[in-house]
Assembly symmetry: C2
Homo-oligomer: 217 residues x 2
DNA sequence: TAATATTGTTAGATTAATCTAACAAATAAA
DNA sequence: TTTATTTGTTAGATTAATCTAACAATATTA
């Protein structure tokens, strides 16, 4: 059985390799993501290698093994199921679920995960629009396109967010945006890449940094 | 914020002082309850004393401070709410809930506890018949009487169990007993204290050890 | 390519929670 | 009241996860 800490390393590694636009996982990137020092990561990597959860040679690339990846996906699955539970059943808000799910994802009980999944009606996406891996570890890959990729005059639908921090999510709400909202891109300023959008008849301007964190179709 | 381990010490201390028939908490008793060595307990006790969670002098009695007790009760509250959730909402069986709740009780989020409480309809008792402390830490004290205290010919209702181990609970189910069942005490063997009971028309004999772990009114 | 900057690694220290082994105090038994 | 037993304590070691500081390898840039 893995420790809470080991699980977090696997999850971070998955995030860095699979997920977002990050190219490759390095000790530094991993360290900053986990808020520890590179030396600590190095140390842990050796342990995870011992357990055949990561492939890794000195000064080489770091990657999850099949076994490590399956375990990481399992944690993501739990995280997203719990987020869905908190949001749908307990009435937590969008920006509050992540933090609590960070704790709940480490609860060890296969039966619990299965029963929770069933209780929630086998949801496919979490409250942030991210896909929930199924029991076998299969993930529906989606949304590669962000609001940044929509040309002026274009229209799109928001399906997920990239950044799950409560700071960002609260900002999203403030702008009047929510999951599955229709967005019209009115204009894009060539000078500073400010994106002018219209949602539910309301216009606002958002930065390119903001636009990059909104997934659309 | 307390560590997972520290929380378990507080909980064990509460169990030993309040709960069951144990007289007083000692390093040995605490050690066997927590499955660690007395030396370890001693060590931890010093730390908890530093944090003003326990009162304790060398070779003297060990007791929770008001602060420590409040925290321990809070953990019990979470434990029993989660047990209720697992049983009522997810369909876990009687004997499965304890183990998972042991993990869930350590999740830190006041909001979560409140919302869970509300979601469950502010339950007063958990699936084993134990009272769920309210937010202020107040506990409905009940059931001091066990099946052992009912004289031959008498009748009673089972309201809780003392032993929460799955071994015992599975045995209870096998005997045909459940919470709120009416029990008739047919006879008590003077020789070996075997108790002959009748539940829902079915007769069985149980040991005094068994009978002592069934709370009745 | 040589100099500089970035990234990764090692060695050694620290803290929390645990252990074993030796010892001390309190309690029970003879 | 001695002796024996149980219970509690201390000292020193161990393991996991972390740190800092020094160093080594790789990558960037001039």
């Amino acid at each position: 059985m893995l420790s809470y800490t080991e699980e977090n390393y696997l999850k971070a590694l998955l995030k860095l390799t699979m997920d977002s636009g990050y190219k490759e996982a390095g000790t530094n990137g991993l360290a900053s993501l986990l808020a520890v020092k590179p030396a600590t990561v190095n140390n842990m990597l050796k342990k995870l290698k011992e357990k055949s959860l990561v492939d890794y040679e000195k000064y080489g690339k770091i990657a999850l093994t099949a076994k490590g990846k399956k375990m990481a996906i399992d944690i993501i699955r739990k995280h997203r199921l719990w987020e869905t539970f908190l949001y749908q059943k307990l009435g937590f808000s969008w920006d509050e679920v992540h933090e609590v799910a960070e704790q709940l994802e480490h609860i060890q009980s296969d039966k619990l995960v299965d029963k929770l999944d069933k209780f929630l009606g086998f949801p496919e996406f979490d409250p942030h629009g991210d896909p929930i891996p199924n029991k076998k570890g299969e993930i529906k890959v989606r949304h590669k396109k962000t609001l940044m990729d929509v040309p002026a005059g274009g229209s799109c639908k928001m399906v997920a967010v990239k950044d799950n921090s409560s700071t960002f999510l609260q900002y999203v709400v403030k702008v009047g945006l929510g999951l599955n909202d229709q967005i019209k891109v009115v204009a894009v300023q060539p000078y500073d890449a400010l994106v002018e959008i219209e949602v539910n008849g309301i216009r606002s301007s958002v930065s390119s940094k903001f636009a990059e964190n909104i997934f659309v179709v």
